[in-house]
């Protein structure tokens, strides 16, 4: 088995070059567990200061990707760089924050002590710990519970604590793996605000999530991964260029509906039909065609494609 990378590479770019390098850059990064391919050739670039959404269904390889990037598991092949240094580089980890999907902290320590522990491991100057801890707790709304043992925290509070741990030391790159999985709607809103705050101060955020509305609201750029491969990537505008038209009509036979496919990819739900990538200019033509087939139109609703529409469409295309 390959040794998990944790060495300081001598092949890294000098600091000056590293400063201008992307936050994340990977070339054909792949990971196999026995015969199972968890990640098949991940190639991507995340610019500094951007919020990058990494989407995919369960088991697509999202968490594997994060662990590979953090050097927690070794790649089977390919290469990757974080902040201009090879993945696994110890020095780079000083500038990285990480909230794992499986968040767990020492239940026998207080929130303050957990954060102090991470300040020490980061390592941050001892003189800055107090301010760092206070700011982090304040940001995630745990100031009142600072002295309480983590073992008494709810799951949501533990996730907030994990977020506070990830924020320590003003990192240049933060990995958030499903950061709202245990949070209520207020907590989710708070996390979105935290992510926006990170982006505003120039921190790159790698957001691993399957909560598409969340990603849509905060991400500048998105990659969709399925079966260990990136099947689409780009800015939100690039991904969501089409318009979806939803039509409520009755009186159409299955054969009639089949003829309507020429207007766009059709999702048939009985009286409701959804046409993907249909130009709004063609809506009158569509309505006329339905009426000409003897159909009765009750409702026509064009809307911009959501990330969920696009996500489902991409996964459908992959089948």
């Amino acid at each position: 088995m390959a040794e998990v990378a944790e060495k300081i590479s001598t092949a890294a770019a000098p600091d000056g070059a590293a400063a201008g390098s992307p936050a994340i850059h990977t070339v054909e990064l792949s990971k196999r567990f026995g015969k199972t391919v968890a990640l098949a050739g991940l190639s991507m670039t995340v610019p500094r200061g951007e919020v990058f959404g990494f989407l995919g269904p369960n088991g697509a390889g999202k968490t594997t990707s994060v662990k590979l990037l953090l050097g927690l598991i070794a790649p089977s092949s390919g290469e990757g760089w974080l902040l201009g240094r090879p993945i696994g580089d110890l020095e780079t980890r000083r500038k990285i924050g990480y909230l794992p999907e499986l968040f767990r902290y020492q239940g026998w320590l207080s929130a303050n002590e957990v954060l102090a522990l991470h300040c020490e491991l980061a390592p941050l100057p001892r003189s800055s710990w107090e301010d760092e801890i206070k700011t982090a707790l304040d940001t995630v709304g745990l100031t009142d519970r600072a002295r309480d043992r983590v073992g008494t925290f709810s799951k949501g509070m533990q996730q907030r604590l994990g977020l506070a741990v990830a924020l320590l030391g003003e990192p240049e790159l933060v990995f958030l793996d499903e950061p709202t999985s245990a949070l209520d709607p207020v907590g989710r809103h708070d996390v979105r605000e935290i992510i926006r705050g990170l982006a505003s101060r120039g921190t790159a955020v790698f957001l691993n999530s399957h909560l598409l509305s969340e990603v849509e609201q905060v991400c500048d750029r998105v990659a969709v991964v399925d079966h260990g491969r990136v099947i689409a990537s780009g800015t939100m505008d690039q991904l969501l260029s089409g318009t979806t038209v939803r039509v409520r009509a009755s009186g159409l036979e299955p054969g009639d509906k089949a003829k309507l496919v020429r207007f766009g990819e059709l999702d048939d739900e009985g009286d409701y039909m959804t046409f993907a990538n249909l130009n709004v200019e063609r809506v009158p033509e569509l309505v006329a065609a339905i009426v000409a087939m003897g159909g009765r139109v009750y409702e026509v609703a064009p809307r911009h494609q959501t990330l969920e529409d696009r996500f489902l469409q991409l996964l459908e295309e992959e089948k």
Binding site: M1, A2, E3, V4, E6, F33, K67, L70, L72, I73, A74, L90, E91, R93, R94, I96, Y98, L99, P100, L102, F103, R104, Y105, Q106, W108, L109, L117, H118, E120, L121, A122, P123, G162, V165, A166, F175
Partner: protein, 287 residues
């Protein structure tokens, strides 16, 4: 503070916060109290003619009873080391606790060595503290002090460290329960193999005697135990055992010679090998 010492401190802190230390202290005090009462009975008991036992006999009985009590202590130490070391790494991998810590600039070797150090400190404190209390109690009750108390503590403490090292190695790959059980069974088997070796000595059968020798090399707990026994044997008992020849040596609660220096060197090498294996095993583990 370097990460390795942070992890060591955290390990000690966890044992303290989880009340493991206080539990061991209370249990030790109870055992010391009961054994002091028992040893006192030896010194005050009278024979058929109403006289107390002669001092020489009290000394021999006390020394042999102390060996049995020490065997119990070494058992508690081995059990505690195996049970605590078994889940030392595996439980934190399974729960995900190590994920956020290993994303910090810290090597996995520092986690392994830090945890070993932390638990080693606890074992050393327990071995020294419990031995001091027990020896003091026996001295108070009977006036007997084993001939080599420092060596006694070193051998018993090292026995605990052996179990810690084995448990830690297993913990890098196996679940806490599995690792702990394997370490305990290995400790018992090593002891039994030592007894088999004793039988070989008694029967003057080299092949059977080799079972004990090989077991001492694979898991040196029984070899160290024999060192602890030798440290507790008074000269009078040693002379009797030596006079008995091979029969005197064929007993897991007796030792007529200290462990050879080659064995002690092997124990040092054994620790190095186990720690190196633990580091390698954890470094190559996928989290």
């Amino acid at each position: 503070m370097p990460p390795v010492l942070v992890i060591a401190r955290l390990t000690v802190q966890e044992a303290s916060r989880r009340r493991l230390l206080i539990a061991l202290v209370i249990l030790t005090l109870l055992v010391v109290g009961f054994s002091a009462w028992g040893f006192n009975k030896i010194a005050t008991v009278t024979t058929e003619n109403g006289l107390p036992l002669p001092p020489a006999q009290v000394k021999v009985i006390t020394s042999q009873l102390l060996i049995v009590v020490t065997f119990m202590y070494s058992g508690v130490l081995a059990l505690s080391a195996a049970v605590v070391a078994g889940p030392l790494i595996s439980s934190e991998v399974e729960s995900g606790l190590l994920l956020s810590m290993l994303a910090r600039p810290m090597r996995r070797s520092e986690v392994v060595i830090g945890k070993w150090l932390g638990l080693a400190v606890l074992i050393a404190i327990y071995a020294a503290g419990s031995a001091f209390l027990e020896i003091a109690a026996v001295d108070w009750a009977t006036g007997y002090v084993p001939p080599h108390p420092i060596e006694l503590v070193l051998f018993v403490g090292t026995e605990g460290l052996v179990l810690l090292s084995l448990g830690l190695l297993l913990s890098t790959r196996l679940s806490g329960i599995t690792g702990g059980v394997i370490a305990l069974v290995a400790w018992l088997m090593a002891w039994i193999a030592g007894v088999v070796g004793d039988i070989g000595i008694g029967l003057q059968n080299q092949a059977i005697e080799n079972v004990g020798t090989v077991s001492h090399l694979i898991l040196p707990t029984d070899g160290l135990w024999r060192g602890a026994v030798f440290a507790m044997e008074p000269d009078a008992v040693l002379a009797t055992l030596r006079a008995a020849g091979t029969v005197g040596r064929a007993n897991p609660f007796s030792a007529v010679d200290p462990p050879p220096i080659q064995f002690l060197m092997w124990v040092a090498a054994w620790f190095a090998v186990m720690l190196a294996l633990s580091v390698w095993s954890f470094r190559t583990r996928e989290l």
